[in-house]
Amino acid sequence: DAMVIQNPRYQVTQFGKPVTLSCSQTLNHNVMYWYQQKSSQAPKLLFHYYDKDFNNEADTPDNFQSRRPNTSFCFLDIRSPGLGDAAMYLCATSRGNRGSTDTQYFGPGTRLTVL
């Protein structure tokens, strides 16, 4: 089945130790998104790629970076994780163009713990 895959599902890192989260998709969608979701809160958009065009949300900390080496893969890099970065990180994809109202399809998420 076509899907959005996130690895790992659970990630534990130490305070200040860089960590990379991975997302892949078999939907061949143009747009990929990264969201941060803290406990009992709605997902918060960090950034998205339309194809290779990177779009950062204004309030996304510089500590968060992203890479999209090809259509299928997108990575979230947290350069120096703090305790406040512990959260579920959701990857999503959509088919369409910038400004499209296409449905977003979510991966299962990676739960990040920072010790």
Binding site: L45, S100, T101
Partner: protein, 113 residues
């Protein structure tokens, strides 16, 4: 700026009964989409139902239906014949010309056997 409001942090329903989750939104756009997503505990967020603003007919997906009132900017979700597997956090979401999903804060639905 667009906003989405879910005024019910928690709801409870008896198995086999019907429950309605409320959602209101604010926008100056005329063309947009509205969604209900379901997120079970520790599980994936999945799309429940989607409504195009230009369509007057309310969307329906099996036991799930919406009451879309465009003038009132209201988009409620009705779950009929509730099942234990319906227990989850439900998020109402809006997407407009910017293409970014704007979520409400969510409603936690419990289903009692």
């Amino acid at each position: 700026a667009q906003t989405v409001t879910q005024s019910q942090p928690e709801m409870s329903v008896q198995e086999a009964e019907t429950v309605t989750l409320s959602c209101t939104y604010d926008t100056s756009e005329s063309d947009y989409y509205l969604f209900w997503y379901k997120q079970p505990p520790s599980r994936q967020m999945i799309l429940v139902i989607r409504q195009e603003a230009y369509k007057q007919q309310n969307a329906t997906e099996n036991r799930f239906s919406v009451n879309f009132q465009k003038a009132a900017k209201s988009f409620s979700l009705k779950i009929s014949d509730s099942q234990l597997g319906d227990a989850a956090m439900y998020f109402c979401a809006y997407v407009g010309s910017q293409g970014n999903l704007i979520f409400g804060k969510g409603t936690k639905l419990s289903v009692k056997p």
